[in-house]
């Protein structure tokens, strides 16, 4: 049986196809991903290319308002950039940072969770205590302080070139406890099962048992939290960029776009702030709905209840 038909016949897909909210939010997320990925082709303008910008076009309202311009469906910002194009590119940056940060979180968190749960004892106690402390300090606070220090240390010009990497690193490292705790919990449950004993009895090395046997069985809860983690990472990135600690205005994510528009919100140019804000909210909302559904669908305890 091919992989595709296996997916189509799975229990999960059946329940997915019966749930309108899940289908709708998945569709919206897919739409965002496709549009963002194809933005160099689809966007009417390349907002990074300064030669395409004309300062005379700046701060034009959306087409449906008085004074709107045929060429700019959603208006322009104060540099004359087409809002639609800038939002498309910005969504791409936000999604990219979110996904890569979550990949990094998953990598660090799964490693620590696996080691912590499998070895146990003092190692476990140390990592879980660390996770408690880090969770209570909160990712956003850690990220704000770390990026503030980096920015002050590198100077804002060098920082602008590094900001994508810095954001991915900081959000990726700061959020490891979520994955570590999840993986540890399932490792603890798996460790006492017979197949692990069997593997140990036939003399397989610890590392082999950990990565080849236990790890694959802990991945379903990892999948469950990943969707919500991406939403969280996008929120964190947007918040940091809004504070001026994230992406620069020349290469804006949704957060820095909102920041650049917010300076002018009192002068009536609402579209520079409100439009990217709405895009951000719809994106996060769909991801959260999808994550909620996935959690309910893959959680066997809830499955029995309903």
């Amino acid at each position: 049986m091919s992989t595709i038909s296996r997916i189509l016949q799975s229990d999960l897909f059946y329940r997915f196809s019966r749930d309108k909210v899940a289908m709708g939010s998945a569709l919206v997320v897919m739409l965002f991903v496709v549009v963002a990925a194809l933005s160099p082709v689809l966007a009417p303008q390349n907002p990074y290319d300064l030669t395409q910008l004309d300062i005379l076009d700046s701060e034009l309202p959306p087409r449906w308002q008085d004074g709107g311009d045929e060429r700019f469906l959603l208006g322009t910002d104060h540099q004359g950039r087409d809002m639609l194009s800038t939002i498309m590119y910005g969504t791409g940056i936000s999604l990219m940072i979110g996904v890569f940060a979550v990949l990094l979180q998953a990598f660090i968190g799964i490693s620590i969770g696996l080691v912590s749960g499998y070895i146990g004892g003092r190692v476990d106690a140390f990592f879980m205590r660390l996770a408690d402390i880090q969770l209570s300090i909160s990712t956003l606070m850690l990220a704000i302080v770390a990026l503030a220090v980096f920015q002050a240390a590198f100077g804002s010009e060098l920082y602008q070139d590094l900001s994508i990497i810095m954001l991915i690193m900081v959000i990726g490292i700061a959020e490891w406890p979520q994955y570590a705790r999840t993986v540890r919990a399932s490792v603890l449950a798996e460790r006492s099962k017979e197949y692990v004993d069997a593997a140990r009895v036939i003399g397989l090395p610890k590392r082999h048992i950990m990565f080849r046997h236990v790890l694959p069985n802990t991945l379903s809860p990892v999948l469950v939290i990943s969707t919500v983690q991406i939403a969280e990472a996008i929120i964190t990135e947007a918040s940091l960029s809004f504070l001026g600690l994230g992406m620069p205005v020349t290469q804006p994510s949704l957060g820095s776009l909102i920041r650049s528009g917010f300076e002018f919100i009192f002068s009536g140019t609402w579209w520079i702030t409100i439009l990217p804000s709405l895009v951000l909210i719809v994106l996060i909302f769909s991801l959260n709905l999808l994550g909620d559904w996935l959690r309910d669908a893959l959680n066997p305890r809830l499955y029995k209840k309903t």
């Binding site: 909160s138 220090v149 918040s239 504070l243 919100i265 951000l280």
Partner: protein, 331 residues
Amino acid sequence: MKAPDLAAFLFRRLLQAALVMFVISLVGFSIQDNLGDPLRELVGQSVSEAERDALRDQMGLNDPFLIQYGRFITRAVQGDLGTSYFFKKPALEVILDKFPATFELVLVATCIIIGFSVPLGVYTAIHRDSLITKIIMGFSIIGISVPVFLTAIFAIYIFSVLLGWMPSFGRGDTYALPWGWESGLLTLDGLEHIVLPSIALSSIMLPLFIRLIRAEMMEVLQTEYVKYARAKGLRTRRVRYVHALKNTLIPVVSLGGVKIGTLIAYTILTETVFQWPGMGFLFLEAVNRVDTPLIIAYIIIVGLIFVISNTLVDLIYTWINPTIKFVGGDR
């Protein structure tokens, strides 16, 4: 609760608090060492290399790491966190001047969170499928999905820009209390200014707490002792609001402790949007100006507030939760 157990618990908790403060102080110290050159801040460019070296020695900048760190800690404990480059005043004084603004904002937001989340959470748990419950839960999903700074921006845009009902920035008039505390809660103008920022600050926490209280309450209402209390003939109202509610609130306190750090981060966002003259707003200004002593002072003061409030919450938690063991209480 036996006294020796409590003492052991306190000791462990204080040890952890000290550890966190130690890490924070290391961060602060390494920033001080690496951001900018303190000598240049002091004498400018016009001094020769030999004189610079002599001055470096004199200021102790060539001393080993531990000695320099020791000096930093000694001064920090005495309340000397350096002088702000921008304000030309002691950094600690500058930060503490802004403390009342942030504290009052957090206070009002906390009142909103507690005041609304408990009744709404209990209501939605008891009337599971009513229309009002669905509306509340719907709003709570939206509330969680909208980042704090966007709630703040939309609040400003709708209520200040479009409708013109509310002031959009600052604290408004303040009233000076005798011990030097500038309060915005005692003037009408100040109260008007705090409405939008405090709502924005509580916009994610409130739905989070409503959902937690609802889930806990629904679980507690299923337990044996609640059923027993009903079977014994206690009034429904008493069972719900005294017996069930009490046990619902234990995890709520625990979540409150976990969320203190997040709340502090949210004050930075809220204060930035509303240009609220508090510590978070000051911190971002300091970052943009590379005002190192002020950055360090903020990190240390916030770290201290965080550690103290977290310890307090933990103490309250152990005090109200009868099932907790003090010694060796590791799960």
